[in-house]
Amino acid sequence: MTLQTDPTTMASAAASGASTPAGGRAPLIEARGIAKAYGAVVALDGVDLDLYPGEVLALIGDNGAGKSTFIKCLTGAVIPDTGTIKVDGQEVRIRRPQDARDAGIETVYQQLSLSPALDIATNLFLGREIRRPGFRGSVLRMLDVPAMRREAREKVQDLGITTLQDITQAVETLSGGQRQAVAVARAVAFGSKAVILDEPTAALGVRESRHVMDMVTQLRARGLGVILISHDMQNVFEHADRIQIMRLGRRAGVVSPRTHTMQQTIAVMTGAATLDADGRVVPSDEAPSGATS
């Protein structure tokens, strides 16, 4: 089977309700037992995750459920207390964000990670600058600013991002939505294996949000794995192949939009229900958390 996604296979696989899409494909990312505590606050309590090539895995959960902390553990922004991560079946030690990048995993963090005083092109190439050819690049280590600007312009254009006009504009002069566009553009343009997006459409207008989701669809079609964190259930149900529900620092279950309704999913997310081993939703004995009305 090729890397190209076959939607019917994905659908039927997901319909099984289990957490693994069939096709015998190995997961891109396999996380097991990721735990992280901040003093007395247990942010993550042994979370697992499987991300397959050519799928969009949504990660949902209430505020403070541990979604951001979890993906930070996957990308080296946070070092988990325990747990293992495999990329392409190989156990890896991701100790800093550059390690994840080297593995082909790009991330848009919730609080973005742009350098305000530097311009868009510089931000896109931060940490992977292009040097001049020949002596000036190899010995003098001189940056090829024109090349980086040209490529940045091309990438932004290829991605169809129309909100970014002047590539030499400092990021601090951009609107919130434009900044988000820069962060998304960087991840999408350079991700070669997986792209992780933590609420990438939070600051975006309707048109721009749709555009980001189009990019996600394209990434999936190219065979990349996408982890999408979002509070927008409509969006999640429209685009995700599988949905991993996080609750109080744990994985409350993995469902599929094809086998579970939004109501069921939200019930599991809020603790009003739980998933049994067969993926059935059973009302929970535990009282729903105070936050839910």
């Binding site: 963090y109 990670s113 742009l114 530097l118 992977r128 003098l140 280590r141 940056l143």
Partner: protein, 336 residues
């Protein structure tokens, strides 16, 4: 070229000025330097004479050199209170080895640069590993380095005549037209060129700016911010070693009693040069201008027979004006 949002937004002349100064941070120190030179030139016939201008260059050389290291640190949103102390320490060690112990001058200079790097490495360790605020870390090492210098030298100076000639080579003078320059001045300009190139043209420079701008963000981008910070402090130490060499030439001796104000003067040059103490913005060229401004003010006021106390007063006012200007420029930015 496309019109940016900002250029459209900068509607009033004042806003446009704010934008211009933000994009070109060296403009304000350059204007100050030119205006000050013109005023002093009118006030005193001697001020603009080549001999006097050469003198100013020699007077500011050591401070200008220290200010290079200081600029790198300030760009990372830090501050190094120990640059002057590192310089004195290195100068005295160079004096001891190049004088009484009679070591080869070239070896001694290399030793001095290594010692400077080591001292900078201690600062880096405290800031990067122990996570002390740079102000506190370097306040501590400032005292340690001064004490070490005095312990090692026993408080004694080594006169230039007792030193290996290579150690006083920075005092070697030569003429260009009516100007008399020293090798020390050349060394300073060379350091500005090299470090200026590294800051503006290499990935390392971009990473310095990004780290100072927003360290957590830079780290998430994949920049190894700890390594970047370490390199900044070590490099600043090495530059202090070079400054020690220039100092021996300038004073004509390795002595603990010189350049006591060097530390604060280096920060003054950086601040007047338009580098933001909040990190991430500024130009090394601005620092050179800042050092020259300080030199021009001191020299010009002295020629006008203004008391040293009032020179210091003028520098103080300059610092406050420069920082206020920086705040104003930054405010225009965050409001957008």
């Amino acid at each position: 070229m496309t019109v940016t949002h900002l250029e459209r937004r900068g509607s009033t002349p004042l806003e446009r000025l704010q934008l211009l100064l933000h994009r070109r941070p060296t403009i304000s120190p350059l204007v100050v330097l030119i205006v000050a030179s013109a005023v002093f030139g009118l006030a005193s016939d001697r001020f603009l004479q080549p001999s006097n201008l050469s003198l100013i260059l020699q007077q500011v050389a050591v401070i200008a050199l220290l200010a290079v290291g200081q600029t790198i640190i300030v760009l990372t949103a830090g501050i190094d209170l120990s640059v002057g102390a590192m310089m004195i320490l290195v100068a005295l060690v160079m004096g001891a080895f190049g004088g009484p112990l009679g070591w080869n001058g070239i070896v001694v200079v290399l030793l001095g640069l290594m010692l400077g790097g080591l001292a900078g490495g201690l600062n880096a360790f405290l800031v990067v590993r122990i996570r002390l605020p740079p102000f506190i870390a370097t306040l501590g090492t400032l005292n340690i380095f001064v004490a070490l210098a005095l312990i090692l030298s026993g408080g004694r100076s080594t006169p230039g005549t007792d030193l290996d000639p290579f150690l006083t080579w920075t005092a070697t003078a030569f003429a260009i037209g009516d100007f008399r320059l020293t090798m020390g001045v050349v060394l300073v300009l060379l350091v500005y060129l090299v470090v200026g190139f590294a800051l503006s043209q290499t990935a390392w420079g971009r990473h310095i700016y990004a780290t100072g701008d927003d360290e957590p963000a830079a780290h998430l981008t994949g920049i190894r911010t700890r390594r970047v910070l370490t390199s900044a402090y070590v490099l600043a130490g090495v530059i202090c070693g070079l400054a020690a060499w220039a100092l021996i030439g300038r004073v004509g001796a390795a002595t603990p009693n010189s350049a006591v104000d060097a530390n604060l003067d280096s920060i003054t040059a950086v601040v007047i040069g338009g580098t933001s103490l909040f990190g991430g913005r500024g130009r090394l060229a601005g620092t050179l201008l800042g050092a020259l401004i300080v030199g021009v003010f001191r020299n010009g006021l002295a020629l006008m027979r203004v008391d040293v106390i009032y020179q210091t007063l003028a520098i103080g006012v300059l610092i406050l004006l420069a920082v206020s200007l920086d705040q104003w420029i930054r405010k225009g930015r965050s409001a957008s």
